[in-house]
C-alpha cells in the first residue's frame, strides 16, 4: 500500500517536472490573471493556450498577431517542448507591426 502511494507520488512529481507555467501578456490584459500562471504539459500546443487567452480576454481576431518569449518569436503551432520552453514561459502576444519606409 505504502509502496503504491510512493509510486503515485513519484509519477505526479515527474509529471509536474514536465509542466510549464504559462502567462500570456496581451494589450487587453494578462492570462490567466495578474497573480497566477496556467500550468500545462510541455506537450501542449502553444496555440491552444493563446486561444484560451484570447477567449478569456475577449480578443476576437488574432490572425496577424505574433507571440514572443524573452524577445524570441515562437511558433504557436508547435508545442512548448518543441519551442524549448520549460519551467516558466511569459508569452508576449500582440499584433505584428506594420509600416516603415516613409
Amino acid at each position: 500500500m505504502d509502496q503504491a502511494l510512493d509510486l503515485r507520488a513519484e509519477e505526479a512529481d515527474k509529471r509536474k517536472a514536465h509542466d510549464v507555467a504559462v502567462v500570456v501578456i496581451t494589450p487587453k490584459g494578462i492570462y490567466p490573471d495578474e497573480d497566477d500562471f496556467r500550468r500545462v504539459a510541455e506537450t501542449t500546443v502553444i496555440a491552444e493556450v493563446l486561444k484560451a487567452a484570447a477567449d478569456k480576454l475577449k480578443i476576437t481576431n488574432t490572425s496577424d498577431w505574433i507571440a514572443k518569449v524573452d524577445g524570441r518569436r515562437i511558433d504557436p503551432s508547435k508545442t512548448f517542448k518543441n519551442e524549448k520552453l520549460s519551467c516558466i514561459a511569459e508569452i508576449e502576444y500582440h499584433k505584428h507591426e506594420g509600416g516603415g519606409g516613409a
Binding site: 501578456i25 494589450p27 495578474e34 481576431n61 500582440h94 505584428h96 509600416g99
Partner: protein, 141 residues
C-alpha cells in the same frame, strides 16, 4: 471628437497597463493620465515614448520618441519603423508604423487611413505601445 468620449476611450484602453503588466513587459510608466501615456521601454538602450491620446480613437495616438530623461530623442535610430525624420508636420524623428498618428499624416502614407485599423483588436494605445516596444528590443542591440 468630444473630449469626454476620448477620455473614456483612453482610460478604458490604458486600464490594461497595470503595475503587474508594466513589470512583466519591462516598462516604466511615468504618467498615464488622459491624454498622455508616458513610458520608458527598458532595454540595453532605453527608449521613452510619449503617446498622446487626445481624440482617441477618432485619431490614432501621436507618439514622441524621447531620451530616458524626457528630452527629444537625440541618438541614432535603427530604421524600419523608427524614422530619423524630420516629419513634415512635427519636424522630429517619428514612428513610421500604422497606428502612429505621424505615419497616417505623412505624405507617403495618406492613402493608408487610420480607419483601416481603428477598432481592431490590438490597435489600441497599449497594443500600439507593445508593437513599438517589441520592435525596439528586436532592432536595437
Amino acid at each position: 471628437m468630444h473630449e469626454s468620449l476620448a477620455r473614456i476611450n483612453f482610460e478604458h484602453d490604458v486600464a490594461a497597463l497595470s503595475e503587474v503588466f508594466a513589470e512583466r513587459q519591462k516598462l516604466v510608466v511615468h504618467a498615464r493620465s488622459y491624454p498622455m501615456l508616458d513610458v520608458t521601454v527598458e532595454h540595453t538602450k532605453p527608449l521613452r515614448l510619449r503617446l498622446q491620446g487626445d481624440s482617441f480613437d477618432e485619431l490614432p495616438p501621436a507618439i514622441e520618441l524621447l531620451n530616458s530623461d524626457g528630452a527629444s530623442w537625440s541618438g541614432p535610430l535603427p530604421g524600419g519603423i523608427f524614422h530619423a525624420g524630420p516629419h513634415p508636420i512635427t519636424g522630429k524623428p517619428f514612428v513610421c508604423m500604422r497606428g502612429a498618428r505621424e505615419y497616417h499624416t505623412h505624405s507617403s502614407h495618406l492613402a493608408d487611413k487610420w480607419d483601416n485599423y481603428r477598432g481592431q483588436d490590438g490597435m489600441g494605445i497599449v497594443g500600439i505601445l507593445m508593437q513599438v516596444a517589441s520592435v525596439w528590443r528586436r532592432d536595437v542591440r
